[in-house]
C-alpha cells in the first residue's frame, strides 16, 4: 500500500497524496493570501502556497487538528498549485488532498531524533 503512494518533497516537507480529509480536521483561514504549511525556526523561511498567484479557478485550503499550529493536510481543488520556499525550487502539485509530514534526522551529539527544519 505504502509503495504505491504518490509523494512530493520540498526540502524537509513531504506531501503524500491521500483520499480524503478525516472529520477530526478543521480548516484554517489563510493569512496574508498565503497558506503556510511549515516555517523555519530562525531563518523565517517557510513552505507556502501563495494564493494571489493561483489561477482564479484554483483554491488551496489548509486543514489541521485543533491543537496544531500549521496544517497537517492540504487540499488543492480546481487545478494545480505551486508550493514555494526560499531555498528550494517551487513544486507544482496537481489537485488533490495531501498529507503533510516532515523529514527527521538523528542528532548524534544529543543522541536524539528530531524533525529536520530548513
Amino acid at each position: 500500500m505504502e509503495g504505491t503512494q504518490v509523494r512530493y518533497q520540498q526540502g524537509d516537507v513531504i506531501l503524500t497524496l491521500t483520499d480524503n480529509i478525516p472529520s477530526s480536521q478543521h480548516n484554517i483561514v489563510d493569512c496574508d493570501n498565503k497558506v503556510v504549511i511549515a516555517e523555519g525556526e530562525g531563518t523565517g523561511h517557510h513552505h507556502r502556497f501563495e494564493l494571489d498567484k493561483l489561477s482564479p479557478e484554483v483554491s488551496v485550503q489548509g486543514w489541521k487538528k485543533r491543537w496544531d499550529e500549521f496544517p497537517t493536510m492540504v487540499q488543492i481543488t480546481g487545478g494545480s498549485a505551486t508550493l514555494y520556499h526560499e531555498e528550494h525550487n517551487p513544486i507544482n502539485l496537481p489537485g488533490g488532498v495531501y498529507q503533510i509530514t516532515f523529514v527527521r534526522e538523528m542528532d548524534h551529539i544529543s543522541r536524539r531524533e528530531r524533525r529536520v527544519v530548513d
Binding site: 505504502e2 509523494r7 512530493y8 534526522e105 538523528m106 542528532d107 548524534h108 551529539i109
Partner: protein, 299 residues
Amino acid sequence: MNNLLRFYDTVMKEKVGYIHTYGINTCKHAIFIKMSNKQVNMYISAYASTDNNPLIKLYDNHLIITAKTGAWHYKDLERHGLMMNIHWRWERNGNIVTFPNVETIPFVYMKVSYNSSLLTKIPKKIQKAYDDLIETNRQERNAASRSNYHNKQAMIRLNEAEQTGDYNKYMRMDDVFKLHNVTDRRNVIAHFGMDTIIATLDHKLVDVDTVGNNYYELIEIDIPDNGELTGYRKGTYLRMVNPSTEEIHFEGVPNYEVPPPPGNRIGWSNRIEANTVKAALAWRNDNLGGNYIPPRILT
C-alpha cells in the same frame, strides 16, 4: 555473621522440619527450616512469594551462600545485620562481594566461616571474570574522568568566548563534542555550523547511491567522546546536495546495527535497516520496513 549462627542454634534445638520466621522488613521475611540434624536452610520470602532456592545453607561451623537468587536479597541481609562483614555492591558492570579476606564476583556455593571469611577457593574462571570487571570499571572511570576534565576546560573556553564575543579565538570546533550541556553545545554549533564541524572529522564512506538525479553518500564519522573507552563513538550521516541550491549538507541517521532476534523489538526504531543510502533515506522519510519510496518530485 554471629546473627546467623544464633538462628542456626535456635532452630537446631527443634525437630527436623521446624520453621522459624524472621521479619527483615514489612514485606520481606527470612525463613529458616531445619533440614536435618546438621543443616538449616534459609529462604527469603518477598511480597508473599518464596524463592525455591535457599539463600544460605547453615551448618555448625560454616555456611554456604548459594548465590542462586538475586544479589539484592543478600544486600538486604547485610543491611539488616544478618550478614555482617560481607559487603555486596553493584559497581558499574556487575556485582562484587567483599569478604574480610578476599573480594570476588558472586559465584554459586560460596563456603564461608562464621567469622565471614571465604573458605572456598575462587575458581579460575570466576577470578578472570572478576579481574575483567575491575579492569573494565577502571577504564570506564578513567574515561568518565577524562570526559569531565575536557568538559570543564571547554566550559572555561566557552565562558571566555561568550564574555568577549570572540568564538574563533577561544573555541575549538571539537568543543561541541566535549561539552556536556546541550544548550552550550547548541551555542557552539550555531557559531561554527554543524556541516563545517562534521566536514573536519575523519569519516568512512559506507555507501553511495544516486536516487532520481540526486547523489547521496552514507558516511560514518568517529565522533570524539571522552566518555567512551575508545575515545570515539560512531555516528552515521547522509551527505547530500540540495537539488535547488547545490549546497552540500549532512543529516544524521541512526547507526546500522545487527537486527535484534525475531520477536525482540528493542531498539527497532533507532537503527537503519541496512548500511545503505536507500535504507537511510527510508528512515529519514519514515517509510515502513526500510523501503525507500522516492518522491515524484524532489526540490
